[in-house]
Structures are given as structure tokens and as C-alpha cells.
């Protein structure tokens, strides 16, 4: 199983968990980032996710390799949806198994934060009045060579 992938179809979370499964791992920590129905006081009807596909796949894989090295007791998997998603849909998913729960929580939160800030993915909010807006949150950085 790839540690990171972009997905244009609905995530099969049961299947992802089965693939992460490991009888030596007592702790499984999951993050589901779902489309909310509001943002900064406005009613949101959906989110349209775009990516620089080649770069996002590469940066995501590289990031997961780094996270794996930083959290050696854990196994970490992340998926991010692309395309138009309705409210409630899981847009971003991270699963971590470990023998130790503190490590699993730390790795999961670390992965969520870093995928959000380091992978070239953008979301456009669609509002209930039919207007839209691109969200721009974190400036990407070139990694030191």
C-alpha cells in the first residue's frame, strides 16, 4: 500500500484500516477531515479540491517517508481527495498504527499538520448563495537541498 495518494473516488476507509492492520499494534489513531457546512460565518455547500497532481504525489510521498523516519514505531498512511465534495464527505484521511498510543497520536497529528502545509492542494469553497472562493492558507517552501 502506498503511504500517500491522491484519490478521485470516495475513500474506502474499512479497506484502508484492514491494510494498516497489524496484530503487534495495539493503538490505531485515525483522522477524518470532513467537509464542514460552515466557514468563517458563511454557509458552505461543498468544497472543490485541486492539486498539482505530479508535485502533490511526489511531495506527499516524500513527506510520508520523513514522517515514517521521525516516528519509527508507527505505520502511517494518508489519503487526500481531489474534486468536488459535498458536506460531510471525508476529504483527508490519516491512519496510524503503533504499539504505543502516545506515538500514534503524535504521528497522526504531525501528519495532518504537515500534509495541510506542505502538499500543493487547494480548496475552493462553494457557498449557499452560489458564490465561491479559493482558500489560501500556507505558503509552500522549497526544501533546503
Amino acid at each position: 500500500m502506498e503511504a500517500f495518494a491522491l484519490a478521485s473516488e470516495r475513500l474506502d476507509i474499512d479497506s484502508l484500516i484492514r491494510q494498516l492492520d497489524d496484530p503487534a499494534a495495539g493503538a490505531l489513531v485515525l483522522f477524518h477531515g470532513r467537509v464542514r457546512n460552515h466557514h468563517q460565518g458563511r454557509a458552505v455547500t461543498g468544497l472543490d479540491y485541486h492539486a498539482h497532481m505530479a508535485l502533490a504525489a511526489r511531495e506527499g510521498s516524500r513527506l510520508l517517508d520523513q514522517l515514517q523516519a521521525a516516528h519509527p514505531t508507527c505505520r502511517i498512511v494518508a489519503r487526500h481527495r481531489i474534486g468536488m465534495l459535498p458536506v460531510g464527505e471525508v476529504a483527508f484521511w490519516v491512519g496510524v498504527t503503533s504499539a504505543h498510543r502516545a506515538e500514534a497520536f503524535a504521528a497522526c497529528e504531525d501528519c495532518v499538520r504537515q500534509v495541510k502545509s506542505r502538499v500543493p492542494i487547494w480548496k475552493k469553497e462553494h457557498y449557499s448563495d452560489a458564490s465561491t472562493a479559493w482558500l489560501e492558507q500556507t505558503v509552500l517552501k522549497a526544501e533546503p537541498l
Binding site: G33, Y49, H50, A51, H52, A54, L55, R58, E59, H80, A91, F92, V112, V115, K116, S117, R118, V119, P120, I121, W122, K123, K124, W134, L135, E136, Q137, T138, V139, L140, K141, A142, E143
Partner: protein
């Protein structure tokens, strides 16, 4: 020098295209972006963007070579 420039998210909307091939004398992405701001109503300062050359995020002063594909990357909002 012929260059391909790729736009994403809000910059794609403002450029009204995914990508365009242009003839430019720019020797770095920094010079290229100054030139592109005269063609498109991009509001971003250079410091608010990142740039990738041939699918690798790179410093703004990296030398450009002919046929390079340059991606302008506004602040990300995944998750």
C-alpha cells in the same frame, strides 16, 4: 526563450488558463513572475508564492533553461 507556465487555483482563474507557453527573456522564476504580473491581474507578492520547475519546488533565483515548465503555486489549503 520558450517557457511553459502552469497556473493553479486562484491564479488559474485569474489567468483564465491552466497553462500557457510564452517567449520570455526571464533568466529566473523571479524575473518571470514580474513579467507575468504585467500580463495577468495576479495580486500575490512573490513572497506569497512558491515556484516549481519541472515538478520540483525551487528557489526563486534558480536559473531557467529553455523548455522549462514553471508552476506558480499560491498558498495551499489542503485538508
Amino acid at each position: 526563450m520558450k517557457l511553459t507556465v502552469c497556473y493553479f487555483a486562484s491564479m488559474r482563474d485569474l489567468a483564465a488558463c491552466d497553462r500557457e507557453t510564452i517567449d520570455s527573456d526571464a533568466t529566473t522564476p523571479a524575473e518571470l513572475y514580474r513579467e507575468l504580473r504585467t500580463r495577468h491581474p495576479f495580486p500575490h507578492r512573490q513572497s506569497e508564492l512558491a515556484v516549481a520547475i519541472d515538478d520540483e519546488i525551487t528557489p526563486w533565483e534558480t536559473p531557467l533553461s529553455a523548455e522549462a515548465e514553471v508552476s506558480l503555486l499560491p498558498p495551499v489549503s489542503g485538508g
